[in-house]
């Protein structure tokens, strides 16, 4: 612990001693890190809820016999993208059935079960809902990807700048002893370290979130097809 604390202490000392360019670079990196961690925490919380609710909602959907029953529990599982797909499909289905019922009630119509006019309209409604849900799941992930790819470069810029100035310092002092060279380079390297510090979690969690979203997208496609099958079986 002693050596650790000492290393950490010297890091803070280095930051305090560094020049204005290095400080600006470090501030930018800090802002990136704060925002990317904010997104990471939010997405972790949000996607875990989404996954939990999606599982439960799918079970309820498969166990229930009527769409109206499922529609009643939608409020409880608002976070799940399946709810969005279901609501869109249900709304399309309802409006078509309502129209069919009106036509049947009109004089001269043949009595019978109301049927769907167009199954592909329902399919399109499901596709639209899926697009909305995917974009909702992926919202702000690009910022994470940006953080992951540019913070190392920003850090590298700070380091190159710092080493440039420290070489200028060497030139003006006229000495190449390690005591003169090393502090400047150590200060400069802090920027690269900070860049990696911001980038590594962003890369990790970006990939993690993309995998989760891909998983959810697959289950959304599966659900849409299931919904379409049921609609076709019952209303055509």
């Amino acid at each position: 612990m002693g050596a650790n604390a000492n290393a950490a202490g010297s890091v803070v000392e280095l930051v305090l001693r560094s020049g204005p360019a290095a400080k600006i670079v470090l501030l930018i990196l800090l802002a990136f890190s704060v925002v990317s961690w904010g997104i990471i925490l939010h997405k972790l919380w949000y996607l875990s809820r989404v996954q939990k609710q999606t599982g439960t909602f799918r079970d309820i959907f498969r166990r229930s016999t009527k769409f109206s029953e499922v529609q009643a529990v939608c409020r409880t599982f608002e976070q799940s993208p399946l709810v969005g797909i279901f609501q869109a499909g249900y709304a399309e289905l309802n409006s078509q059935l309502k129209q069919a019922a009106q036509e049947m009630n009109s004089p001269g119509a043949t009595p019978g079960r109301p049927t769907l006019k167009s199954l592909s309209a329902v399919d399109r409604a499901l596709l639209r809902a899926a697009a909305v849900e995917v974009s909702k799941l992926e919202r702000r992930l690009p910022l994470l990807a940006t953080t992951a790819s540019i913070t190392p470069f920003i850090g590298l810029f700070g380091t190159v700048w710092g080493i440039m100035t420290s070489f200028q310092g060497i030139a003006s002092v006229g000495s190449t002893s390690l005591g003169v060279v090393a502090p400047g380079i150590a200060e400069a390297l802090i920027a690269t370290a900070a860049g990696l510090f911001a980038a590594i979690p962003a890369v990790y969690f970006y990939n993690h979130f993309v995998a989760v979203v891909k998983d959810l997208t697959a289950s959304m496609d599966d659900f849409a097809l299931e919904f379409l099958n049921i609609a076709e079986r019952n209303f055509t």
Binding site: A5, A8, V34, G38, I40, A91, N94, R140
Partner: protein, 265 residues
């Protein structure tokens, strides 16, 4: 508006909690920085606050030139060291000639009383200034006459940064004015210490050199793991007791030194 569009718009709106998480992230970052700063403050207080005025010097290993990647010290240093080194190698050839010359000088002296005095005065003055300057450092520094030469050769090699692992003494000085003083210091301490022990190890001892050259505040800083080695290292400093006064070019009233005693088997 179409029913489906209404549903989709409603669904697209729901996205909350991000500002809260960004705030949490900000708090986390501030906390992390505070912890680092606190660790720095604690470790800074625990260790020497004036770490920049401090040198770490290693002592030990085989005498001889350090092979790997030596870096000479700052530009003023070589000039200062070169002068005493020349002076040291010469004393025996240089001193006799004036001694032999003086009888010869004494003879013509009465013949030309007016012009000659300046001439003998110059060589004698030259020898006079060279003589005190030379013995002052090396005579105090190296008691053993034969050990002097290899050690002198080592002198600047020892005062190099980098170099082979643990071979010879190395030195990391931050802006200390007078490397030749350190050469003297290392030689004096080495003469009171033996690197060859039954076990290998490194003991780090801290001490202060006061302006008049006294060694004070001798403390074991890092144990070698063997009490005998630690005691031998400290003993070398206690026996040394006094070094030449600090050079006038050094501004502070004392110099803190961290000395690594590297023992070989």
């Amino acid at each position: 508006m179409e029913a489906v569009t209404g549903v989709l718009l409603e669904r697209a709106r729901h996205d909350t909690g991000l500002p809260r998480m960004v705030t949490a992230s900000l708090v986390g970052h501030v906390a992390l920085i505070a912890v680092l700063a606190a660790a720095s403050a604690i470790s800074g207080r625990a260790r020497n606050p004036d770490l920049r005025d401090v040198m770490t010097i290693s002592l030990g290993g085989a005498p001889g030139p350090n092979a790997g990647g030596m870096t000479m010290m700052g530009s003023p240093a070589p000039r200062r060291v070169a002068a005493p080194r020349d002076a040291v190698t010469k004393p025996s050839p240089v001193v006799p000639p004036p001694a032999a010359a003086t009888p010869a000088m004494t003879l013509p002296a009465p013949a030309r009383p007016a012009r000659t005095p300046p001439k003998p005065a110059k060589p004698s003055a030259g020898a006079g200034t060279a003589a005190p300057a030379v013995p002052a450092a090396p005579a105090a520094g190296v008691p053993g006459g034969e050990a002097l030469n290899p050690n002198r050769g080592l002198g600047f090699n020892g005062l190099s940064t980098g170099g082979g692992m643990g071979s010879g003494s190395y030195l990391d000085v931050k802006g200390f004015c007078c490397p030749d003083y350190l050469v003297t210091m290392i030689q004096v301490i080495k003469s009171n210490w033996s690197a060859r022990q039954q076990v290998a190890g490194v003991a780090m001892v801290m001490f202060r050199i006061q302006r008049d050259g006294r060694l004070t505040d001798i403390e074991l800083e890092r144990s070698s793991g063997f009490a005998a080695l630690d005691l031998t290292a400290q003993r070398a400093l206690f026996v040394t007791q006094k070094l030449p006064p600090l050079p006038a070019a050094f501004p502070d009233d004392h110099l803190t030194v961290h000395l690594n005693f590297e023992y070989t088997r």
